[in-house]
């Protein structure tokens, strides 16, 4: 079987504001990009952590929300036709004779001339409840996401949490599970009201159970959970038998596989030079919150500046035979043609 490989000039790891603007700066110098992000949509932290919070320090925009900034950037980079790969995480990065090869967690393969790491605080991963011994059950009895519903067929399932993920999976898994219990620390839910209403109906009809409390201990053997100890809202504890537990406590940022790509790291950040924003490896750049250099400020505007300078050097690797002439978008007809305004 021949493998499908996506060949491109540049792969951008991370679709936060800085990764998105990198598409723009690379596009101006004729470097085509593919963008990969673990989230299911663009925006990175702006979309995941504060879509509705106003940002006050983006030049030219006195006030803009994380979502609006993302939308505006997507509009701005449209002319460059970058392709996006959402819900994927880059697992490996290897050097080829004339570039790099990246493989994602679902097996998409990229070959490119330059890699731009714009991964912010790392990739968003589900929070792991700090329960002693939980690692031993992960993948067998403890799951942070549902890849195949079939895996929960005829199982005694415990879902922990009160947000949209917890409610959605309660509703979706109820028909396939043998039994389903939803456990939450309080009787209010931060989820879509329709889902909450539907869940309460299922409780009413006896199809699922809802319990108040928090898990304090795990019990089981050889990767198989048999029960958990729950501290109820009254302070008393009880045992909840189960086969599978799905904790939904939101996402947290972890550096993830970037740590294994052979780059120099300083306290989980990637040191770069401040002329090209290149890492210890030629052809691999790091821009935005994930890099570090003397005087570094973790600001979106700093990332934008870094993207512009990075693109100048990236051009040299992608088009070694072409001389780059610095131009302004206000006056250059060739840049305006690329932007589709001429």
């Amino acid at each position: 079987m021949s493998e499908d490989v996506i060949k491109t000039d540049a792969v951008i790891v991370g679709a936060g504001p800085v990764g998105l603007f990198a598409v723009f700066e690379l596009g101006l110098v004729d470097v085509k990009a593919q963008v990969i992000d673990i989230l299911d949509r663009p925006g990175g932290q702006c979309a995941e952590l504060y879509p509705e919070k106003p940002i006050y320090d983006v030049p030219g925009l006195a006030i803009v929300t994380g979502q609006e900034l993302t939308d505006r950037l997507m509009e701005q980079i449209k002319p460059f036709g970058a392709e996006f790969h959402f819900g994927e995480r880059v697992e490996s990065l290897d050097r080829l004779d004339d570039g790099f090869r990246l493989v994602t967690d679902i097996g998409t393969i990229f070959e490119c001339k330059v890699v731009i790491i714009a991964a912010g605080g790392g990739s968003f991963t589900p929070k792991r409840p700090p329960l002693p011994g939980i690692e031993a059950y992960e993948g067998t009895s403890v799951f942070y996401s549902v890849r195949k519903m079939e895996a929960f067929k005829d199982k005694d399932v415990l879902i922990v949490g009160g947000g949209d993920s917890a409610l959605d999976w309660t509703l979706n898994l109820q028909p396939v599970a043998k039994s389903l219990t939803l456990l939450h620390r309080r009787s209010e839910f931060r989820a879509a009201p329709a889902s909450v209403a539907k869940m309460l109906e299922l409780v009413e009809s006896g199809d699922i159970a809802f319990k108040l409390g928090q898990v304090t201990e795990l019990h089981g053997d050889e990767g198989k959970l048999t029960s958990v100890t729950v501290k109820g809202s009254d302070g008393a504890t009880f045992e909840q038998p189960l086969e599978v537990m799905l904790p939904f406590f939101g996402l947290t940022m972890k550096l993830g596989p970037v740590a294994d790509w052979g780059l120099n790291l300083e306290e989980n950040l990637i040191p770069v030079d401040t002329a090209k924003f290149e890492t210890s490896e030629k052809g691999i750049f790091a821009i935005g919150d994930i890099n570090t250099y003397p005087g570094k400020l973790k600001l979106i505007l700093s990332g934008f500046h870094e993207a512009a300078l990075m693109a100048q050097q990236a051009h040299k690797y992608v088009h070694p035979d072409k001389k780059l002439i610095f131009q302004y978008t206000t006056s250059s007809s060739s840049l305006q043609k690329k932007l589709g305004v001429k």
């Binding site: 929070k127 700090p130 009160g162 309080r186 939101g250």
Partner: protein, 133 residues
């Protein structure tokens, strides 16, 4: 070329306080963070900043504050010591919702990014949970 206004400004800048009364020194509030192992770390915080900011500014262990204070990550979770619970008040709806994403929630649980430092909180003591996740 000459810049009359620029020059006037720079003259004023050279003597910024010559004709103003010295403002009273900033009143600081002392906040003590107690680590799970019992070690205490007392820092000074300016009224107006949040307890989370005071922790981050002083590199207090155990306050991750991933979202930078947007009440969006629940990684600045603390337990307010009993005698300070009235002074710090109750979490608002958004904070209470966000606490769902923290672990080992107790009646004294707060997100430190949502506690504003005031003079009245001088002496505040908060405990840091075993883990923020």
């Amino acid at each position: 070329m000459h810049f009359p206004f620029g020059r006037a400004r720079s003259a004023a800048a050279r003597f910024p306080r010559s004709d103003t009364v010295q403002a009273p020194a900033n009143v600081m509030a002392r906040i003590t963070f107690i680590q799970p192992d019992g070690t205490e770390n007392t820092v000074e915080a300016e009224p107006g900043m949040t307890v989370m900011e005071a922790a981050v500014k002083n590199s207090v262990r155990g306050i991750a504050a991933e979202c930078g204070g947007a009440c969006a990550c629940a990684t600045c979770h603390v337990y307010v010591e009993e005698e300070w619970r009235e002074a710090t008040g109750q979490p608002e709806q958004m904070e209470e919702d966000m606490l769902d994403f923290a672990f080992d929630i107790r009646p004294s649980s707060r997100l430190s990014c949502q506690i504003k430092v005031t003079e009245a909180l001088d002496g505040l003591k908060v405990r840091i949970p075993e883990k923020q996740f």
